[in-house]
Subunit: 136 residues, 4 copies
C-alpha cells in the first residue's frame, strides 16, 4: 500500500459566499495530492503525458463531513491500496488538525493519447509502484 500526505493552505479564490471551500475545489486539491503521491513514487505525471499517456478520471466520489475555511492549513492523505491494472484508484482523507473534513475516491484509466484507447498500466509505472507492495 502507498500512503502520502500533502499539505495545502486554502486560497481566498477557493472559498465561496458561505466562507467555505467551494465543494468542487476538492477535485483540484485531490489532483495535487495525486500528482505529489506519484512524484514520491518516482513518477512525474507530466512526463507520463509527454510520453503520450493520459490518465483521465472516470469516477469521483466524495463525502463531506465538515467544511474547510479560508487560510486553513489542510492535510490530504492519499492512498493507493491496490496495484493498477487498466485502472488506478486513489483514496483521500482531508483533515484540519484532528478533524476529518471529507473522504473521497477517484478512479482513473490509462489512455493512449494517439489512439484515444484505454491501455494497461505501462510497465515502468507498474515496476515503480510494485516496490511499495512487495512483501505484502
Amino acid at each position: 500500500m502507498i500512503l502520502h500526505t500533502t499539505h495545502l493552505r486554502v486560497r481566498y479564490a477557493e472559498t465561496d459566499r458561505m466562507g467555505y471551500v467551494y465543494y468542487g475545489n476538492y477535485a483540484t486539491y485531490f489532483e495535487v495530492a495525486r500528482v505529489e503521491t506519484l512524484r514520491a513514487c518516482g513518477i512525474t505525471y507530466k512526463s507520463l503525458e509527454d510520453a503520450g499517456i493520459l490518465l483521465p478520471v472516470i469516477d469521483f466520489h466524495i463525502r463531506y463531513f465538515a467544511p474547510a475555511h479560508y487560510d486553513d492549513e489542510i492535510r490530504i492523505t492519499t492512498a493507493i491500496s491496490q496495484l493498477p491494472s487498466a485502472r488506478i484508484q486513489f483514496q483521500y482523507q482531508t483533515h484540519r488538525g484532528e478533524t476529518l473534513l471529507n473522504e473521497a475516491e477517484t478512479d482513473l484509466v490509462f489512455v493512449d493519447a494517439a489512439s484515444g484507447k484505454p491501455m494497461r498500466c505501462p510497465h515502468d509505472i507498474m515496476s515503480k509502484l510494485s516496490v511499495f507492495f512487495e512483501g505484502n
Copy 2:
C-alpha cells in the same frame, strides 16, 4: 418527479491541458443546473440563503463516460425524484447532442445558518416542490 434541462457552453477557462473540461468543473455546472431547477419550481436559492438557510453538499458522485471540449454546447438534465426531508437529492445527466458525457448525484442538507445545525426542509420549500409530486 421534477425534471429540468439546463444549457451551457464550455468556457475556455474550464478546459485543461488535455483540451477537456477539467473533471472538477462539473461541480460548478451542476450547481448552476440545481439552482435553475429550483428557480423553475419558484425557489430562489439566494433568497433561501438570505432567509438564513444554507444548503451545503454532503455527497457528490460522478461517473465520466466521455469528455466535453471547448465551446461545446452541453445539456444537463436535473432530476429531483423524491420530496426532500432533512436532505435533498439531485441527479444529473450531461449530454452533448445524443452522447451521454457523465451522470452524477449530489446530496444536500438544510442547515440553519445561525445555529449551524441541520434542519428539516422549510415548509414553503416543501409546498412548492410537492406540487410536482402530486398524483404520482
Copy 3:
C-alpha cells in the same frame, strides 16, 4: 467600431468569502464576452485555434468600481474600436442594471501555433471585421 452585449448570471462557485465575485473571475467573464463578440462577427474562436492560430492575452487591465454578488445578472459590453493588426484590443464595461461595476481592456496577439511566432491578423478575420468599420 464593433459593440456586443453579453448577459451572464453569477455562479456560486465564482463568489468568494466576501460574497463578491472573486476579482480574478472577470478574466473568465471577459473571455466569454470576447468569444461571443467574435461569434457575432462570424468568427468562431475554436475554428481559429483548429486552423493553428492562437490568440493569447498579453495585457489585461481592470478597474473595479463596485462588486457583483451571487445570482446577479450582469451585462458586459464589449467593444473593438480599431481594426486589428498583429494585435487586437477589446474593451469591456460590466453593468448590473444601471450600475457600472468595472471597466477593462485586454490586448491579444495572433500567434502561429506551429512556429510559436507572432503573425499578422489573418486575411479572412480582417475582412469579417472590416465590414463593421466601413464608412467610418
Copy 4:
C-alpha cells in the same frame, strides 16, 4: 520597501487548452503572494477580515511576456514600495528560472466591513509595515 518571494507549482486545473496557465489564474497566484507577503510582515489577512476590515482589489494590471506550463515551479516576487494610506499597492514579477513570465500591479483599498465605507490603513497594520521602511 518590502520584498517577498513566493514559490508555487502550477496545478493541472489551472492550465487551459493551450497547455498554458489560464491568464485569469494569475489573479489567484498574486492573492497567495500578497497574503504570504503580509504574513511575513506579521499581518494575517484572515485576522484583518475577522476584525471587520476588508481589502478589495480596485485595480489590477498585468503584462504577459511568456506562459507558464503545467507542473512548472514558478516564483513570484512581491513588492510593497510605498507605505499604505487609504490604499495599498502590491507589485509582482513572476519568473520560471531566469525567465520573466509577467509583471503586474494590484491596488487595494481598506474598507470598513460594517459600513462598507473606505477607511485609512489601520494603525497596527501601519506600524507593522513601517518597520520595513525606516531609515529609507
